[in-house]
């Protein structure tokens, strides 16, 4: 089988994606009086140059990997960048976020290539599962440390060393996905044993330990760091992975019951959880009560209502009326200016990435790789879902970034690492398939 053709596909898709991004950039800046957009050099560098460099790196380092993921990521990342530039320019005092984001994009591409270089064989990561588990926990709980931990916008999810702030939680997710994959592959036979409790079969209580630990950690994150989004994402990741590993739906049942219990407790005990629920008020209402001052969510709903089918047009809406629109609420800005069509296109792009990720998982040769790829895809797919669902009021708003699109360095870096890992697994699978075919042919010749 010739998987190398995948690179041609990738290049073709990349060209299409970049054309779209550059076009979007021109449109976004056209309404201004200047005939030639001012910052077209840096734009071309980050939206055309970077994907091309990453493409060349993949050609060299993972030549047989999936060809869909990188173009989709580059498209979403480029779209996000255009919006960050556009939103920043609309502000009375531009905060230079666009410049920072382009810097993060360069670092992200670096992290992407470095991951491909360092991880030459995904299977070898299995060895580091416990190290990863430890590192993941440390990263997750790091913001709680006294000196380095920082609370920004009410969430204690930041760590700062000197001038650099980052969210270790973004990397913790990757480490934990690795840990779960390795651990579950090791223990899945044991964990898969069900015991009948009357008519329903449930996991043996003595194997529920890991579930309870994961649940406990999720609660700690939610309560101590006030990070509902990460907590939800983390617990979802664990549940999905244990379910896929053991093939026992009973874990989902137990997990959902635990989640419901935890959520109920948290709702009653902690005001910030209550606040979030009250701000949401159910998916049926698109805005809060008229008598109250409009919240960030209400402003986002007003913004998206202006979108209509095809949107106000890039650069023509006024999404800056939503506070901190460039991170959590960037999806509202996209919906306002690109309309239902643009919003749906973003959804489709994420769905395609999920599809590609799950296909990689499905085809992977070893249980570890399958599980790891599933975990990584779950992280990407659910994180995007959780924040978009929050913005459109399908779920209570829990602040996480929209992968590849939102402004945010830690998130971008972590997601490029995630992407590289998926590509690495995909490349391994293809390489091994080719080797098998070759070996098979060899046997035939010899025989």
């Amino acid at each position: 089988m010739n998987f190398a053709a995948r690179r041609t596909t990738e290049l073709g898709l990349l060209v299409l994606g970049t054309m779209f991004v550059v076009g979007a950039y021109l449109l976004a800046t056209l309404p201004d009086d200047s005939p030639i957009p001012t910052a077209v050099g840096p734009l071309l560098a980050v939206t055309v140059g970077l994907p091309l460099i990453m493409h060349l790196a993949v050609r060299r380092l993972a030549p047989q990997a999936d060809g869909m993921l990188l173009p989709l990521a580059a498209l979403l990342n480029g779209l996000g960048y255009v919006f960050i530039v556009r939103l920043d320019e609309a502000k009375a005092s531009p905060s230079g976020l666009a410049g920072l984001q382009s810097l993060w994009m360069i670092l992200g591409a670096g992290a992407f290539i470095a991951t491909l270089i360092v991880v030459r064989d995904a299977r070898r990561l299995e060895r580091y599962r416990y190290t990863a588990g430890f590192v993941g926990l440390v990263l997750l709980l790091m913001p709680l440390l006294p000196v380095v931990g920082r609370t920004i916008n009410g969430s204690r999810i930041w760590v700062s060393f000197g001038p650099i702030n980052f969210q270790p939680g973004e990397f913790a997710k990757l480490a934990l996905a690795l840990f779960f994959a390795g651990y579950l592959v090791e223990k899945r036979e044991l964990l898969a044993i069900n015991r009948a409790f009357g008519p329903i079969a449930l996991p043996d209580p003595k194997h529920l330990g890991p579930v309870l630990i994961a649940w406990g950690v999720a609660l700690v994150v939610m309560v101590m760091e006030r990070d509902l989004g990460s907590s939800l994402l983390f617990f979802t990741l664990f549940l999905v992975m244990i379910w896929v590993a053991t093939e026992r739906a009973s874990y989902l049942l137990v997990g959902i019951l635990l989640f419901a219990g935890g959520a109920y407790l948290a709702f009653n005990a902690f005001s910030h959880v209550q606040e979030r629920m009250e701000l949401w008020g159910g998916f049926w209402d698109l805005v809060g009560p008229v008598a109250q001052r409009p919240t960030q969510l209400d402003l986002a709903a007003f913004s998206m209502a202006d979108g209509g089918t095809a949107g106000q047009g890039l650069g023509l809406g006024s999404p800056t009326s939503i506070p901190v629109v460039e991170s959590d609420f960037i999806y509202a800005a996209i919906t306002e200016e690109l309309g239902l069509l643009g919003a749906a296109a973003v959804l489709v792009a994420f769905l395609l990435m999920i599809g590609a990720g799950l296909r990689i998982a499905q085809q992977a040769a070893t249980a570890f790789e399958r599980l790891f790829a599933t975990g990584l895809t779950t992280l990407l797919g659910f994180q995007a879902f959780i924040i978009m669902a929050g913005v459109v009021r399908l779920l209570p708003l829990t602040g996480v970034t929209l992968p590849f699109i939102s402004y945010g360095g830690s998130s971008l870096l972590a997601n490029y690492v995630l992407l590289a890992l998926l590509l690495r697994i995909s490349d391994d699978t293809a390489t091994r398939a080719n080797e098998r075919i070759a070996a098979h042919q060899m046997t035939e010749v010899v025989g």
Partner: protein, 497 residues
């Protein structure tokens, strides 16, 4: 594992499908509802960041325009004439909303009017932002004379063209400077707004159409109309007895004349002398309560004036008080008791007499032009109410002219030159006796002989010292006279324009 991975894919696809449905609700199905949410100011923000049409007077003076601003809104609304047209243009402010013409014709000024939609297809291909420019029926020169004449006295001046309802001048003091509220320095705008709102004189409220006062003797024109239309009063009969007091049946203070004098006579004479006892008697005995009520309401009392400015105040005729209560009816018939009128309404009373008995819908917008100068909307004159027949109006016109030639309003034609017929009626509404203070009123009309008068006017000067039947004629008539003369003169060439 593969079954689980497939199911996971299906589950995620369902999640995203739910997202898609929710986005549909937001952008399509419930978008209108969200856009109508009172807290949604996005339309305002959009209008704020677009060019906006000018507002010009009939004689070509720009009274509101948008100029380039170096801030996030791109355009700053300015009002070059300051307080002069504040009550007409209103203001267009970000946090404080908008009022006046800025509010009434917001869509047109922003280029979203009905007439523009037909041209929208063009706009897809041509990069041009359409706006509508509003031309007012008001004249800058007349408005300025109104302001100069009223001077520092609180009160109102309303001039209207009886033939089509066009408002020519609408001035009241105190006024305010809309620039202070329209500024993009929001804290300053907020402070200015608070200061204006805290002012007990309420400078932002136009006294000309949003405040009512006792109309005093100017209301006798209404009583006369009721008497002629519904009480059989003619030029010659009845001949009201010369007396100093009139006591209607029932318990109540008798009606006296100003200064305790005695008067009486036929319609023209009692109107010229503004005879309280005779008009009280006419209201009670000839017109009677139902007739008075019908005529007052036919003039527009107890109704919302259909003017194209926000929140007009209804003038009041106290139907429920005067019914079956002759002493109160007697008071109401001379503009006392609970009768209250806006200056605008009293101008419309004069206009009805002038315009063959018909009150035209008053309006301040004459036409709206697009940026190419093509008319996209023109105000079509229409009749609002008809309080009297043409015949009655002819009689009353003559009666009011005789008030100027031989009665209390002799100063009304002082400023008017040429072959012009001037009619009027003064009024003095006493509001305090120690020291005596009163509101000085005059209503009137003027125009070339043999034609329907071209202008009707109402002037109210509030809180004047003294209280005699002469007060209205002495204080208000010179103002009205200057305004009538200015309105009859052809428009002055706009300064610098």
């Amino acid at each position: 594992m593969s079954k689980q991975i497939r199911n996971l894919g299906v589950f995620l696809a369902c999640c995203y499908a739910a997202l898609f449905l929710q986005v549909n609700r937001l952008t399509i199905f419930q978008a209108d509802e969200l856009q109508d949410d009172p807290r949604n100011n996005r339309q305002v923000v959009r209008d704020f960041s677009r060019p906006r049409g000018t507002i010009e007077t009939a004689d070509g003076v720009v009274v509101a325009e948008s100029v380039d601003s170096q801030d996030q809104f791109k355009f700053q609304r300015t009002y070059p004439t300051g307080d002069l047209f504040a009550h007409v243009t209103g203001f267009f402010a970000f946090q404080l909303g908008s009022t006046g013409v800025e509010r009434e014709y917001n869509s047109e000024l922003a280029g979203r009017g009905l007439g523009f939609d037909l041209q929208e297809l063009d706009d897809l291909f041509v990069d041009r932002e359409r706006v509508g420019n509003v031309t007012l029926s008001l004249r800058n020169d007349v408005q300025q004379i109104a302001r100069d004449q009223l001077g520092q006295r609180e009160g109102s001046v309303v001039a209207v063209d009886p033939r089509n309802g066009e408002i020519i001048a609408l001035w009241s003091l105190p006024s305010y400077d809309p620039n202070l509220l329209a500024t993009h320095d929001f804290p300053a705008a907020e402070a200015a707004s608070e200061a204006l709102n805290a002012d007990p004189e309420e400078p932002t409220r136009s006294r000309a159409y949003r405040e009512r006062e006792f109309p005093g003797s100017t209301f006798k024109v209404v009583t006369a109309t009721a008497g002629v239309e519904r009480g059989g009063v003619t030029e010659d009969s009845p001949d009201y007895p010369v007396q100093s007091e009139y006591q209607a049946a029932g318990i109540g203070t008798p009606i006296g004349n100003f200064g305790g004098g005695s008067c009486g006579g036929t319609l023209f004479v009692i109107l010229q002398n503004s005879c309280n006892t005779a008009f009280a008697q006419m209201g009670v005995e000839q017109a009677q309560a139902p007739g008075m009520t019908a005529t007052a309401e036919a003039y527009g009392f107890n109704q919302e004036v259909p003017i194209d400015l926000p929140d007009p105040v209804r003038s009041r005729w106290p139907t429920e008080v005067v019914t079956d209560n002759p002493p109160f009816l007697a008071q109401a018939s001379i503009g006392q008791n609970e009768v209250q009128s806006t200056p605008l309404q009293m101008a419309l009373v004069a206009a009805a007499v002038a315009n063959d008995g018909k009150v035209m819908r008053p309006h301040v917008m004459r036409e709206i032009l697009d940026d190419q100068g093509d008319v996209v909307e023109r105000y079509e004159p229409s009749t609002w109410t008809t309080p009297m027949s043409e015949e009655t109006s002819r009689l009353l016109r003559e009666a009011m002219v005789s008030v100027v030639t031989d009665g209390t309003a002799q100063r009304l034609d002082d400023e008017v030159e040429g072959d012009v017929v001037v009619g009027g009626k003064t009024g003095t509404a006493q509001i305090g006796s120690d020291p005596p203070r009163s509101h000085a009123w005059i209503i009137g009309f003027a125009g070339p002989e043999g034609e329907v008068p071209h202008v009707a006017v109402a002037v109210l000067v509030e809180g004047q010292e003294g209280a005699s039947e002469q007060t209205g004629g002495r204080v208000a008539a010179p103002i009205a006279s200057a305004v009538l003369a200015a309105a009859l003169a052809p428009p002055a060439a706009p300064a610098g324009g």
